[in-house]
């Protein structure tokens, strides 16, 4: 066993290896760090060897996960050591330990430059490596010319030049101006004539970076790339050391083909012909062999060739040849090739019309859905989804349903959404569609979002032929012993509306329907109770002649809920009770729901979003995106039931102004009640949609009933926009078609949802539209936060007039580094944002972001996930610590207690998980009562410093919709803010909803929000504008 030259380091590493546990390791590391710190303090006595040894130890400790926040100066100073071994350590450790913005780096620029322009080749290499790893803007400006000189120098050895090429790439990324396009384009072309394959590989990487920003300037390189590819494919003049398992440098082949994908087309027929010859040779000459490494290498080249063929949009013949190859791959033993085969088939579907050829492989793809490897299963699901059409929908959807029961939890939500969409898009007949959705809810209710059942209701409402069938199916499911709550919702809704169509069947009399539905009431949540009440009212209305016994039973229920704590339920109970005493008038008021206007499915939109989430910045993907959206426009227009699309206004039975005014004066009391019903927005989004859906039911009616026209229209409008997932543009006339928007650029995905998901995780996409993707990555430490915004231009032309302004709430100090005015094509810029939390508050910071693309000016206001829980640090406390603290914080304002109602029903374990996800650490068993939860956390802000917060939740097993919560901390504001924050989380859990951006601080209890409470939250105010 070869040993490293430094005995001290080896001894330290074996000590660490001998540690029995993490605690011992920590002690050993602390001892070492203490030692190093003391030795560095009196640096005079330190030999260069010792210094080197200590700095290596620091790097090793850093890798183990301990923060090494000293000794950076020593590491940097080693760079200027005269001898190689010390210098080497200095460069390696500096580039691993420091980031590009570190102040000490600036001090080293001169030394680094001297090493680069000096004559010592090894020093040049070290310096280039460090700059290539962590060089920032300043390095770019001062070193780029020297690095360029090295790269094109004829006296430099390949060892140095290949590093210079990649170093220049880094500097170019930091500041594109350092490469002067006019001067450099010819040089770049010359570099591609290089014979040394090491230098050529690096130069090609540099070329990829350059052409991805500006392909026009590097046109002359295109032919050179094809030449390189020909040389490699024919294995001409390729030295042995660059032949990898018999394949001439697969990396260089791949890179060259990647570079070619950045040129939009190849016009020159000669170049095109030579290129296609090479590609043909690659496609035909690659076989699956026994040697795994050889396979990997040859297929790396092959898959890149496929990508290039797709990009060049080759003749159909070549495409079907590609599909045939892929068909072979998805059946091979080699899992990597199966995986890539499936992935590339999916990609191919998006760019060309090869669906029919791919369909031949359907059986094999379905088999892949059962592959032991989850990576492969996911690719198979994507592909099945992409290749589905009317001809194979039944088979594919049934496979997906079957797979649902055994699928990993990680895949179920995606799986059920995809099955629902396919069933909707390609249903050969609508009863099949209803069957599929009900099966979905039955098998995977937890993973079926509200959009899915809303959509089935819309379909049934709009298709009379379907109504008896759907009602009968719903009735069947109610007989099952345990059904999911979503099934209760959809069955109750369908039977309320269409149950009377089944009247002659056994078990379907109004009384029987009522009793089987009513059986479910004790087990369901508040939102579902609302639906059940509406169902009862509808059953009552449909029972002709009236059944006095049933009537009394239902009235008793309405009576009971008239005093319900939940405002929405209470209101429904009061109104239905009053309405149902109006006798025959009830018939008109509670008449069947009108047809919903035809519109694009919210589900399909959602799927489109998830697809574009992983937007790849390649030309292929860009084109694919355009294609998907075209396809959607087509489905959008497809009338599902043959009836022509109708405008909303024709659907709403609007009373004339005159009669209404007349009526107003007579029956003002009730009008007001109704008015509230339509305006009240009492529930968080998912329930809100529901409220709207049912709200219309009570309001819509002929002039005889007390209705305000404005309300009726607005409410109908709400239903539409709510279900659509489109911004809610409430306007008085409401005749604007929903699809039409003043802003022509629409975000991709639900921006509000993205924000919510970022509240509990630290990286992801904040915003996306067809031109830009804004990603975010955050690190939190005590009351400090560092966010990095990733602004990625998805286009082939630059985004200009880019502006980003932070509107911080008063409790956050935020500093955004300079955002460049232009984002080059397909480039990503990173803008760090520093956050300091001054004091506890739930207010939210907003990013006001704008850019110009072509003639479009886009401006969006985005909430930033610098929310309260990011400044929490979970801490576990023992009973001995907890109880004295708990007692010492006695009573308000430090300790607050509140009974929260309308809580989303969660098993206790899930509630604990929810708390943990927000960094409130639950201590199981600390509270002797198993229905209670106790959690603790530390909150950090500049004012409060580190402050311990304790929390206790007492749930009521008899009524899970309410609980008592007690919060204590050493700061009154903190206690209050934290209490409100937790309340929000308990009442509203962001699910996949498509409601208009909900305000993060939406009042959690079901009470009408007063606009004044929302107005002191800038986040809430601005979110309304989104």
């Amino acid at each position: 066993m070869a040993m490293t030259g430094m005995r001290g380091l080896s001894v330290f590493i074996s000590d660490i290896r001998n540690c029995q546990n993490k605690e011992q390791e920590r002690l050993r590391v602390d001892k070492e760090l203490g030692n190093i710190r003391t030795r560095f303090k009196n640096e005079k006595g330190l030999t260069p060897y010792e210094k080197k040894k200590y700095v290596w130890k620091m790097l090793y400790i850093y890798m183990l996960g301990y923060d090494v926040d000293f000794g950076h100066m020593e590491a940097v100073s080693l760079i200027s050591a005269p001898k190689y071994p010390e210098k080497q350590v200095g460069y390696i450790v500096t580039s691993s330990l420091l980031n590009e913005n570190h102040d000490f780096l600036r001090l080293a620029i001169n030394t680094v430059r001297n090493d680069i322009i000096g004559r010592n080749e090894t020093f040049q290499c070290l310096a280039l490596t460090m700059v290539g790893n962590i060089g920032g803007r300043e390095f770019a400006e001062s070193l780029a010319p020297d690095v360029q000189k090295l790269l094109i120098s004829s006296s430099c050895r390949p060892l140095v030049r290949k590093k210079a090429a990649l170093c220049l790439l880094r500097l170019y990324r930091k500041n594109p101006d350092v490469v002067n396009v006019d001067g450099w384009a010819d040089r770049m072309a010359q570099l591609l004539d290089e014979r040394d394959l090491g230098v050529l590989t690096s130069s090609t990487s540099l070329l990829v970076a350059l052409v991805s920003n500006n392909h026009e300037a590097y046109w002359s390189c295109l032919q050179k790339c094809v030449k390189i590819l020909e040389r490699l494919a024919r294995n001409q003049d390729v030295p042995q050391e660059y032949t990898y398992y018999g394949i001439p440098s697969p990396w260089l082949q791949v890179k060259t083909m990647r570079a070619l994908q950045y040129f939009p087309t190849i016009e020159d027929p000669n170049i095109r012909r030579s290129l296609f010859e090479v590609l043909q040779r690659i496609l035909m000459g690659t076989d699956v062999v026994k040697n795994v490494n050889k396979n990997n290498a040859s297929h790396a080249v092959l898959f890149e060739a496929l990508a290039l063929v797709m990009h060049l949009d080759a003749e159909k013949e070549m495409m079907s040849q590609c599909v045939a190859l892929l068909g072979k791959f998805i059946a091979v033993r080699e899992p990597n090739i199966r995986y890539l085969g499936l992935e590339n088939m999916t990609r191919m579907l998006r760019v060309t019309d090869v669906q029919d050829v791919i369909k031949r492989h359907q059986a094999q793809i379905i088999t892949s859905l059962k592959d032991p490897d989850i990576s492969i299963r996911k690719r198979a699901l994507d592909l099945l989804y992409g290749m589905c059409d009317v001809s194979n929908a039944k088979d594919i959807v049934e496979e997906l349903l079957q797979y649902l029961s055994s699928a990993d939890f990680a895949m179920r939500e995606e799986l059920s959404l995809k099955a629902a969409i396919l069933a909707e898009k390609f249903a050969p007949d609508l009863s099949w569609y209803v069957d599929v959705i009900l099966q979905l809810i039955d098998k995977a209710g937890d993973f079926v979002s509200d959009d899915i059942w809303f959509r089935v209701v819309q379909f049934v409402t709009n298709n009379e032929d379907l109504q008896p069938y759907a009602a009968a199916k719903a009735r069947e499911y109610l007989d099952k012993p345990a059904i999911h709550e979503t099934m209760v919702k959809v069955s109750a809704y369908l039977l309320g509306e269409f149950g009377h169509l089944l009247a002659r069947r056994s078990g379907c009399s109004p009384r029987e329907l009522f009793s089987i539905i009513h059986e479910k009431l004790p087990t369901v949540s508040t939102a579902t109770i609302c639906i059940l009440l509406s169902t009862y009212a509808k059953i009552l209305m449909h029972t002709q002649p009236p059944d006095p016994e049933l009537q009394n039973q239902i009235w008793a229920i309405f009576n009971k809920y008239e005093s319900c704590i939940d405002a929405e339920i209470q209101q429904r109970a009061v109104e239905y009770f009053a309405l149902s005493r109006k006798g025959a008038a009830l018939m008109d008021i509670l008449a069947e729901m009108p047809k919903f206007p035809e519109r694009q499915s919210a589900l399909i939109k959602k799927a489109e979003d998830t697809e574009t989430d992983a937007a790849e910045q390649s030309a292929i993907r860009l084109r694919a995106q355009q294609q998907t959206s075209n396809a959607l426009v087509v489905t959008d227009q497809r009338p599902a039931n043959g009836t022509p699309p109708v405008t909303q206004l024709s659907l709403v039975k609007v009373p004339s102004m005159a009669s209404n005014a007349d009526h107003n004066s007579r029956d003002q009391g009730l009008t007001e009640a109704n008015g509230t019903l339509s305006i009240v927005d009492p529930q968080p989004p998912p329930a809100d949609l529901l409220g709207d859906l049912l709200g219309t039911l009570a309001i819509e009616g002929p002039p005889g009933a007390s209705v305000q026209p404005g309300d009726g229209i607005q409410s109908e409008h709400n239903v539409i926009s709510g279900l659509e997932g489109l911004p809610n543009e409430v306007d008085g006339t409401a005749i604007v078609p929903v699809e039409e928007h003043t802003n022509s650029i629409q975000p991709i995905g639900n921006t509000a949802e993205r924000f919510h998901s970022l509240c509990s995780k630290d990286s992801g996409v904040l915003y996306e539209d067809p031109y830009i993707q804004i990603g975010i990555k955050a690190e939190w430490r005590a009351h400090h936060g560092r966010l990095v915004l990733f602004l990625g231009n998805k286009n082939t032309s630059p985004l200009v007039s880019v502006q980003a302004v932070i509107l911080p709430p008063s409790h956050l100090k935020m500093e955004l580094s300079l955002v460049p005015e232009t984002i080059p094509p397909r480039a990503q810029v990173q803008c760090p944002l520093e956050v300091v939390n001054l004091r506890p508050s739930r207010d939210i910071a907003v990013l006001d972001f704008s850019y110009k693309f072509g003639t479009n000016m886009v401006n969006v206001k985005l909430r930033l996930p610098a929310v309260l829980n990011k400044f929490l640090q979970p801490i576990s406390v023992s009973p001995d610590e907890f109880f004295p603290q708990w007692r010492s914080l006695s009573g308000p304002p430090l300790k607050l207690q509140e009974v929260v109602r309308g809580v989303r029903v969660l098993p206790l374990l899930e509630m604990a998980n929810l708390f943990n996800s927000f960094r409130l650490m639950v201590s199981p068993g600390l509270d002797p009562n198993p229905n209670n939860l106790v959690a603790s956390t530390t909150f950090y802000s500049e004012n409060t410093r580190a402050m311990l917060c304790l929390l206790r939740i007492e749930t009521d097993p008899a009524d899970r919709t309410q609980l008592r919560m007690t919060i204590a901390s050493g700061d009154p504001t903190l206690t209050f803010e934290l209490k409100e924050f937790i309340k929000e989380q308990l009442v509203y859990i962001p699910t996949a909803s498509h409601a208009p951006a909900p305000t993060a601080t939406a009042p959690p209890v079901a009470q009408p929000p007063s606009t004044s409470t929302a107005s002191n939250d800038p986040g809430a105010l601005l979110a309304g504008l989104l």
Binding site: M1, A2, M3, T4, G5, M6, S10, I13, W56, Y62, M63, G65, Y66, D67, V68, P85, V89, I92, N99, T122, N133, I134, K162, K163, L166, L169, R170, G198, T201, S202, S205, V208, E241, Y242, Y244, S249, P250, W251, V254, R258, N293, N296, H299, A300, F303, E304, N336, R338, P372, D373, S375, I376, A615, E616, Q617, S618, S763, G775, K777, E779
Partner: protein, 144 residues
């Protein structure tokens, strides 16, 4: 661009890590832990690819190789070809094997400094620098 290279053993202990875009030490550890969490639950004879968006952020891929007691992991974005990355892991491993004659975990543990030199000759600032293990060994030898 390659975003990170990790070598860890089958107990999750890091043996060599290098991040090509800066990550705080806490974030590094979190990433190492999540990578290990995913890898240790994967069976033998499955593909070498793992969906990684949820851990490392959008547009990231992960390719790994499991050899004896070690995982070799490369994390990178869509500008790289997955199989070519897998080949590069193989080059890295073959180079180590040539340097240490039948490389085992202990060689890697005790030759920490040399591991860095070797990796720096293969991956440079997140880009592929050299793909010929003969050339890598030549370069590492010349710098001692």
């Amino acid at each position: 661009m390659i975003r990170a290279v990790m070598v860890m053993n089958t107990q999750g202990k890091p043996r060599l890590t290098k991040f090509y875009d800066f990550q705080s030490v806490e974030k590094q550890q979190e990433l190492i832990r999540s990578v290990f969490g995913v890898l240790c639950s994967r069976a033998e004879n499955v593909s070498n690819f793992v969906d990684f968006d949820s851990i490392f952020g959008p547009d990231t891929r992960l390719v790994y190789k499991h050899l004896a007691t070690l995982y070799f992991v490369f994390v990178f974005d869509s500008s790289e070809n997955e199989l070519a990355m897998l080949d590069l892991i193989q080059v890295f491993v073959e180079t180590l094997d040539k340097c240490f004659k039948n490389v085992c975990e202990l060689d890697i543990v005790f030759n920490y400094t040399k591991m860095h030199s070797i990796l720096d000759e293969i991956v440079f600032g997140g880009q592929v620098l050299e793909t010929s293990s003969a050339e890598v060994i030549k370069a590492v030898k010349s710098i001692g």
